[in-house]
Symmetry: C2
Subunit: 256 residues, 2 copies
């Protein structure tokens, strides 16, 4: 299970007499191995003692190197078990446009998400290009409205390849984030994503669903999820009512 020791350290070039610190060389080596997918998420790094004796360096120096990776969020250590490559974090709060529920609840409102539609579609040219799949591939399509106190706040359309032929579970529809949908129905797991935030105007359909007049300015977020091979596995488009949504960020670290 832990696959300890299955990884090969021989290709590492550590120069103990270099001006570059050993811990830094070592950290960069592991970082490279992870980036190049020679060490996959979940896999264990060699133990600290193994690494130390392999390179003839102190265990503390190894720990210093690994602590850099821990700080970067690329690996995590478990006392008594080992050190493992982390799953890349998705659904980050980069734009803070996700995590509706928490944000809405914090303002004392009642959050809810309503599924308008969930069906299997055949990919047209545009979707095939976006997901990197052949024409007429079967895909899942979702239309969702997020409300606060029954007032529409956001409207989302999401596509993911329909590989597993699994039925759509009710539990998935409670908070159907793009990454959980992709994880459930696609062949591979999402490990990275791209988000693009734009401003736009509502179309006729969007105006109707959000209950605003046509051409109202809105936030438009396009999100693409990728697997380990950088193949897109899910694509989503979210529209946030501009008159109801603000993105706030604070700098500085003082209390109060």
């Amino acid at each position: 299970m832990s696959e300890q020791g299955s990884f090969n350290l021989d290709q590492a070039e550590i120069d103990k007499n270099s001006v570059i610190p050993i811990y830094y060389q070592l950290a960069k080596f592991f970082e490279k191995q992870i980036r190049q997918r020679n060490l996959l998420p979940g896999e264990a790094l060699p133990t600290e003692t193994e690494i130390a004796s392999h390179f003839g360096i102190s265990r503390m120096t190894v720990r210093r190197a690994i602590s850099e990776l821990v700080a970067a969020g690329m690996v995590y250590a478990q006392k008594g078990k080992g050190t493992f490559v982390a799953m890349p974090k998705l659904d980050n709060i980069v734009f803070d446009l996700n995590n509706f529920y928490e944000e809405i609840k914090q303002k004392g409102m009642k959050p809810n998400s309503k599924l308008l539609e969930a069906k299997i579609v055949r990919s047209d040219e545009l979707l095939s290009k976006r997901l990197g799949i052949p024409l007429n591939t079967r895909c899942l399509f979702f239309r969702i409205v997020i409300t606060a106190n029954d007032e529409p706040l956001a409207y989302e359309r999401k596509y993911t390849v329909y590989a597993k032929q699994k039925p759509i579970l009710e539990s998935e529809l409670k908070d159907p984030s793009l990454s959980s949908l992709a994880a459930a129905h696609s062949d591979s797991l999402p490990v990275s994503s791209k988000k693009v935030l734009m401003v736009s105007r509502t179309t006729e359909e969007e105006s109707l669903i959000l209950g605003v007049s046509r051409g109202t300015p809105v936030f438009l977020m396009v999100q693409t999820l990728y697997d380990l091979e950088r193949k897109p596995i899910a694509w989503g488009l979210s529209i946030f009512r501009g008159d109801r949504y603000k993105l706030t960020s604070y700098d500085g670290w003082y209390d109060e």
Copy 2:
């Protein structure tokens, strides 16, 4: 200059027999001192040797504690000089809407900023409320247009109190960020900020300056800068052309 040793360590309660690690207690102590403004930005922490001997602990343990603060960005260490409390970072890339120059240059375009107006105004009711100052206080007012290849991209209006009666330097006008303007002309230094991002439509004036038709959707960013006492010292409003600006963010750490 370095004020080494001016800070008192006696109020720290470090329990060497606690289950909580010493380095953690020590890090939390310094964090608290910084948050409560007992250690001010620019001030030096006691030297590692001083701290170690004061508490009767190893220097490596002290270094472990300080490294936590360094990782958090609250202090920075300089070899040969000492460890200092960092200036809270402003103009963060939270929204990535600042740092025009770098972004525009990276796309092979020619960035430029043109000062439309710079004058001293008397604060009206709204501005007095925003800056927390009496009515009719003298303030500096700037109007700036940022262009890429001579095409307008953003339009900014900025206010800051005019405390120092200093003339406006040409150098300030090259890239007049809100925090540098405030630092130059206000009594106090900005240490924290709030940014709010919204979508809006252009007014008549904004349309003219940005060269778009009236009512075009735009990003609207309102930024307030605060000093140590949480008093607002500068206020700015930026408008970004929605048809020319995208905010992109990537998750995951794989190359290419």
